[in-house]
C-alpha cells in the first residue's frame, strides 16, 4: 500500500462526496434547459442537503431502529462503492477488498436495506415502493453482473482496477462485446438511478413513483443522507460506465502525474455524460411499470449476447 495509493484513495472519496451532488445539479440544470424551463442554480442540491440536515427528523410513532439506521447503511454502501470504482486512479488500497461482483453485492445491500426500511413503517406507499424497487433490482442486478462479466472476460479478471488498466491499454477500436455491454449498461443505469423511462426523479404522482415512494416517510437528516446516497449512486454508476467504456485518463500506480490530470478529465467526462443523460431523459417518456421487465429483460439479453460475442469472436 503506497503513500500515493492512500492519497488517491482519499482523494477519490472526497471527490465523490463533493462532486456527486454537483452532478445531480448539473443534470437537473440541463434537463430544465432542454425542457424550456428556467433552471435551478447549479449548487441547488448542496443547499437542499444543508437545509435538510438542519431540519429535525420526523419519524413515525412505531418506526423501529431499522428505519433510522437504514439511511446510514445506504449512504455507507454508496460511499464504499464510489471508493472502490477506479474513478481517478487504479492504484487504490481498498480495491482488492472488493471486485466487480462485490460491487454489485454492495448495491444490492443498499437496495435491500432501503426496501426493508420502506416496509418498516407499514404504509401502503412504502411497501408498494419496496416491492417495485426490489422488482427493478432483481431484473437489473443480473444484467449489471453480466455487463461486468463481459468486461472482465477481456483481461480474465473481475478486479475493477485490472479491467480498467487492460481496457485503457487496448487498441482504440469498437469492440462488439463492449458495444452490447455499453447499451445494456446505459439501460441498467437509467433503471437503477430512477431515471425517466423507468422512474421519474421529479414525480409527485403517488401511483407512478418508485424511488420516491421508497423514501416517502423520511425527513430531515435521514432524507438528506438518502438524497446524498442517491446522488452518490448516480456518480458511482457514471464513473463505472466511464471506467469500463471510456477508461482513458485514469491514473495508474506508476504514474503520479496522471493523478493531477485525472480530475479535470473526469469532470469533463462527467459534464458531457450528464448532458447526454438529460437529453436522454427529455427525449423519452416514462413507461408503465409492467413494461419495465421487458426493458430490463432486453438489457439482460444484450449483456448476455455481449458475453457470447466475446466468447465466440474472442474480442
Amino acid at each position: 500500500m503506497s503513500v500515493l495509493g492512500s492519497l488517491s484513495q482519499l482523494l477519490e472519496i472526497v471527490v465523490a462526496l463533493l462532486l456527486a451532488p454537483l452532478l445531480v445539479g448539473w443534470v437537473n440544470q440541463w434537463r430544465a434547459w432542454l425542457q424550456n424551463k428556467s433552471a435551478p442554480p447549479l449548487l441547488q442540491p448542496y443547499r437542499v442537503l444543508h437545509k435538510l440536515f438542519n431540519k429535525e427528523s420526523v419519524v413515525a410513532h412505531h418506526a423501529s431502529s431499522l428505519f433510522r439506521s437504514a439511511p446510514y447503511v445506504v449512504f455507507s454502501c454508496m460511499l464504499l462503492a464510489s471508493a472502490i470504482i477506479p474513478t481517478l486512479s487504479t492504484d487504490l488500497p481498498l480495491a482488492p477488498a472488493a471486485d466487480a461482483i462485490a460491487l454489485v453485492g454492495l448495491f444490492a445491500l443498499a437496495r435491500v436495506f432501503a426496501s426493508l426500511a420502506a416496509m418498516d413503517v407499514g404504509t401502503a406507499f412504502g411497501s408498494m415502493g419496496a416491492r417495485r424497487e426490489m422488482l427493478i433490482g432483481f431484473l437489473a442486478e443480473p444484467a449489471l453482473l453480466m455487463v461486468l462479466f463481459s468486461a472482465s472476460l477481456i483481461p480474465r479478471s473481475t478486479s475493477l482496477a485490472t479491467i480498467v488498466e487492460t481496457l485503457a491499454h487496448r487498441e482504440l477500436a469498437i469492440y462488439p462485446s463492449l458495444a452490447f455491454a455499453g447499451v445494456a449498461f446505459t439501460m441498467i443505469s437509467l433503471a437503477e438511478n430512477a431515471r425517466v423511462p423507468v422512474d421519474n426523479p421529479a414525480t409527485h404522482l403517488e401511483l407512478t413513483m418508485i424511488h420516491e415512494a421508497l423514501i416517502l416517510e423520511y425527513s430531515g437528516r435521514h432524507l438528506a443522507l438518502i438524497e446524498w446516497a442517491a446522488s452518490l449512486k448516480l456518480f458511482a454508476y457514471s464513473c463505472l460506465g466511464l471506467a469500463l467504456f471510456l477508461p482513458w485518463g485514469i491514473a495508474e500506480a506508476h504514474a503520479p502525474l496522471e493523478l493531477v490530470l485525472a480530475l479535470p478529465v473526469l469532470v469533463l467526462k462527467l459534464a458531457i455524460g450528464g448532458m447526454l443523460l438529460a437529453a436522454l431523459e427529455t427525449a423519452s417518456a416514462k413507461m408503465r411499470i409492467f413494461r419495465v421487465p421487458e426493458f430490463l429483460g432486453t438489457a439482460f439479453l444484450l449483456a448476455v449476447i455481449g458475453m457470447l460475442v466475446h466468447i465466440l469472436l474472442g474480442v
Binding site: F53, N54, E56, S57, V59, H61, H62, A63, S64, L66, Y72, V73, F75, S76, C77, L80, L94, A97, A98, D99, I101, A102, G105, A108, L109, V112, S115, L116, M119, G122, A124, F125, G126, S127, M128, R131, M134, L135, G137, F138, E141, P142, L145, M146, S152, L153, R156, T158, S159, L216, E217, R221, L225, F290, P293, V304, M307, L308, I311, L312
Partner: protein, 672 residues
Amino acid sequence: MAGFPDPTRWLALDWVLVAVAAWLVVGLGGLFALRKLGWVAKVLFPAGGAVALLLFAVALVAMFSPAEHAVLPLGLPGLPFHFRLDPLAGFFLMVIGATAAGVSAFAAGYFRKGEGTPPGLLCLEYHVFLASMALVVVADDAYAFMVMWETMALSSFFLVIANHRLAEIRQAGYLYLLIAHIGAIGILLSFGVLQANTGDYTFANMRAQHLSPFWASVAFLLALFGFGAKAGIVPLHVWLPEAHPAAPSPVSALMSAVMLKTAVYGLLRVTFDLLPAQLWWWGVLLLAIGLASALFGVVFAAVQVDMKRLLAYSSIENIGLVFAGIGLAVLFSAYGMKPMSALALTAALYHVASHAFFKSLLFVGTGAVLHATGQRSLGKLGGLVRVMPWVTWLTLVGTLASAGLPPLGGFVSEWLLLQSFLFAPGLPSSFLNMLVPVVAALIALVAALSGYTMVKFFGVVFLGQPREEQLADAHRAGWWERAGMVWLALGCVALGLAPVAFIDVIGRVTRQLVAAGLAPASSGWLLVPVDIDRASYGPIVFALGLATSFALAFALVRRLYHGRIRRAAPWDCGYPWQTARMQDTAEGFGQPIRQIFEPFFRMRRELPSPFDREPRYRVIVGDHFWHWLYQPVADLVELLSRWIGRLQQGRIAVYLLYSFLTLIGVLLVVRR
C-alpha cells in the same frame, strides 16, 4: 477401538463414535422421562448440544489428520460395520456438529407440552436422527451406509409427524417417507453396480473396481436419482414444501440444513471417491438439473404465503446452486483441469456450510415466531420487530446471508461460484464454452431473486404494522432460543468474515477428491481464488469500510448538525385513515413474480362475477410437476390397486381357488 485404551490415545474416529453413543444415551434418557418436559428441555437437549459441539471439534481436528478406519462388530454375523473418517466425512461432520449445536440449544426452549408425540419420545427421535446422520457420513461400506440412511429417514419421518393428529401432517409425512424410500432404492442399486459382482460391499472394494464407462454412468445416474430425491432436486422436490412446514421448527431446521447435505455428501462420495473417473456429460447433467432446481425453487419461494414453505422452496434453490457447483467441478475434473475443479468444489462446499447456518437460523426464527404468535401464514403476521427484537435482528442476519449479500456467508459462496463460472471459458469444447455465459446469467438471476424473496419474507413477517390485533401480545423468545439463534447467526457472520481460514479447511476435502486446492492465501485477510490480479475479495476490509463510514456519518451529522427527532403519525402522502390492512400482503409482494414467471406456475383464478353478493377473488398457485408427473403416477397406482383389489372377494372358497390355480400354473411351468 480395541479394548478401550486410555482416552488420551483415542483416534478422532473413536471420539466420533463416542459422540454418537452419547447422543443415543441422551435420546434414551428421554424415553425414561416421557412426559417430564422440564427434564427433557433443560437437561437432555442442552446435553445433546454439548455433544454436537464435541463432534464439531473432533471433526475439525480430523480434517487435518490422515484418514482413520474402524470396524464395529455390530449388525449381522460376518458383516460388520466399517467406518472411515477422512476429510470429506470430517467436513460434513463439522457442518452437522456446528448446526446441531445451535439447533439443540434452540430446541431446549422450543418444545412445549401439547398435542402429539410426548417430549421424551421426541428427544429420542431427535437424537437418533442426529446420530444416524453422523454415522451416514462416516460409514465405509454400503451395508452400514444403507442402515444409517434408513434410520435417518425413519427417525426424521417420525419427527415430521410429531403432531400426528392433523391429517395434513400425516399426509406430508407419508409423501416424505414414500420419496425417501424410492430414493433409497436408487442408492442401493447404485451400490450394487459399484461392487461389480464381487459381492464385497465395502467402499474400499468399490474404489478398487474399474467400471467401464457404461456401468460407471449407470452407477452415477442411480446415485444421482437416489441422492437427488433426498436433496430435493427438481422433479423430486415435492416432499420438501410439504414436510418442512409439517415438522416442528428445530426439526425443519435440521432437515433443511443438515439432512439435505447428507445427500450432497453421498453424491460427492460416489462421484469423486468411489467412481474411478468422471465423464463430462455428468457435469452437464448436474449443472442443468442444479440450475433448473435453483431457478424453480427461488421463483416458487417468491410467491409463497407460508413462512416455512417459503423457506423450503428456498432450500430447493440453494441445493440447486450446490449441485450446479458440483456439476462444474465434475466437468472440469473430467477435462483434467484440477485447480478449476477445486475452485468449483470449494464454492459448492462453502455453500453447503453457509446454507446450513443461515437456513437453520431462518427456520428456528420462524419457529420462534410460530410459538409467539401461533401463525405461520405471512398474511397474518407483521410488525414483530417491536415485540420480539432479538428474534428480529438475529433473523435479519440470516435473511441477509440468505439473500447473498456481502459481507455475510452467503455472499462468499456465491462469489466463489461466479468466479468458477467466469473462468470456465477454457474448456476444450466450444459448445460448452458458449453455455457458460447463459449459466452465469442464470446464477446471477437466481441470486437476485433470492434477495427479492428474502426482503418479502423479512419485511412481511417482522416489519410494518401487525396485520392481526393479537400480534401485539406475542411473547418474547426465551433465553435458550436466543442462545441457539445467536450461535447460528455468529456462524453466518464468521463464514462471511473469515473465508480464508475456512477455505483452508475445505482445501483438505478438495485435495482428497480432485487432488488440488486453492492457492494458499498470500495475505490472511484477502480471499484470492486464483491470482490477485484476477480476483480478490477482502470481507474484513469491506465490513470495516462500511462500519467506519457508518460511524463517521453518524458522528459527523450529530456534530455538525443535531440529532433531534420528533415522533408523529406516518406521513403516507397525507392520508390519515391508514390501517394495517392497506400494507402490501405476501400475495401482493409475489404478484410481479407471478406475472413475469407465469409459465412456471399452474395458476387457477377464481374471479367474482359482478352480481356476487360476497365477491371473492382467489388465485391458487400450483406446481406443474405435481399435475403432470405425480398425479398421473398416483392415478395409475390407484387404478392398478383397484384392479388388484378385485381379487379380494373375502370368501375362503375363492382364495382356495386361487391357491389351486396357482398350483396348477406352477406345475405347468415347472417340469422335470
